[in-house]
């Protein structure tokens, strides 16, 4: 019994010492690679699901969303003609990483022009 307590304490100590990772990237490169290999709407959907998963897991773990993830998700929403969602996620990229402001602002402008041209 005593031994168990010591083991548990040891484990806690070891776990406590392990540095928290900076980001959670999940299976990102793999789902993106598969989409590149087979550029179908199904593969794009799978990659999109992974991006959503990365965001929810990062939030759960209290980690910053990795750079580019919100923006890429926004872009996929745009491709799928879900423009409101596209704007939401692109703006999240800007909030998380202010250094992306110029890029995202230009993108938002181009996308809204693109959307108007389509209508």
């Amino acid at each position: 019994m005593k031994n168990t307590t010591i083991y548990l304490l040891l484990i806690l100590l070891i776990v406590g010492c392990a540095p928290t990772p900076m980001y959670y990237w999940g299976d990102y490169s793999n789902t993106l690679y598969k989409y590149k290999k087979d550029a179908t709407p199904e593969m794009l959907d799978k990659h999109k699901t992974e991006l959503l998963e990365i965001i929810s897991k990062s939030n759960e773990k209290g980690l910053r969303i990795p750079p580019g993830i919100n923006a890429e998700l926004g872009y996929i929403f745009f491709l799928q003609e879900q423009y409101d969602q596209a704007i939401v996620y692109l703006k999240k990229e800007k909030l998380t990483y202010p250094e992306s402001t110029k890029f995202i602002d230009d993108l938002l402008q181009n996308l809204s022009e693109g959307e108007q041209n389509e209508n």
Binding site: Y28, Y33, K37, P67, G68, I69, Y75, S100, K102, L107
Partner: protein, 226 residues
């Protein structure tokens, strides 16, 4: 036989000893002066014979670069923008003024990657798979190279002759080599190359050791691009 091996080992030690290892601070002083926050990764320059290497390689680089502490512009979107502007083709990009990427994207630095090899080679009874990538980080403010490094990884895919039973197994061995070679996933090799190369980049602003890693050693001078 024994003496030969000893000489071989000794000469290996000597050769290794010759590789000059320096610190990050000594190797890349401009990184510490400029402290770039954001990096725009340009489409790779593909010098290998594999046409698909360019597309596949770009799926591997954002993650390790973020762990080095940098903001990485969303590569998929950047590539799309560059395609629309007609400059996705890297021969055109090399000639572009780096300051344009500050003007149009707000990037502090651009990362050029060159895929030198992404190949399979077969020789008489063996084979190997090799991935070799060179990196150059260029300031959009000064146009100067801030950090540069290259590394390669070769995996021997020769089947084990002993396992397959001597001369009779030669054909089997050839077939086995082909199978082992084909099964190699280039992107997983590229990921390993990325990790070893990025160990030499000074940490960016999102890394806890940002600005304090000048004395970290491990930069092999000969692997810095000329």
């Amino acid at each position: 036989m024994k003496i030969k091996s000893i000489i071989l080992i000794l000469s290996l030690i000597i050769l290794n000893g010759c590789a000059t290892i320096i610190t990050k601070g000594e190797a890349f002083p401009k990184m510490y002066q400029e402290k770039p926050v954001s990096i725009l990764v340009l489409p790779p320059i593909n010098e290998s014979t594999a046409a698909d290497a360019k597309e596949y390689y770009s799926t591997t680089i954002a993650e390790p670069l973020s762990f080095a502490g940098y903001y990485v512009f969303p590569i998929e979107i950047v590539n799309e923008v560059l395609k629309q502007e007609g400059i996705y083709d890297t021969e055109l990009i090399v000639n572009l003024d780096a300051s344009k990427f500050k003007e149009y994207f707000g990037a502090d630095a651009v990362l050029f990657t060159r895929i030198i090899s992404w190949n399979t080679s077969y020789y008489v009874i063996g084979g190997n798979v090799k991935v070799h990538i060179a990196f150059d980080l260029v300031s959009t403010k000064t146009g100067e190279t801030l950090w540069s490094y290259n590394d390669k990884l070769t995996v021997d895919t020769t089947a084990d002759a002993n396992e397959l039973g001597g001369a009779a197994g030669l054909l089997l061995q050839l077939a086995e080599t082909a199978v082992l070679t084909a099964a190699q996933d280039y992107t997983s090799l590229a990921k390993k190359v990325n990790i070893t190369v990025l160990q030499t980049i000074p940490f960016g602003i999102y890394h806890t050791q940002h600005g304090t890693d000048q004395s970290l050693t491990g930069v092999e001078e000969k692997k810095m691009n000329q």
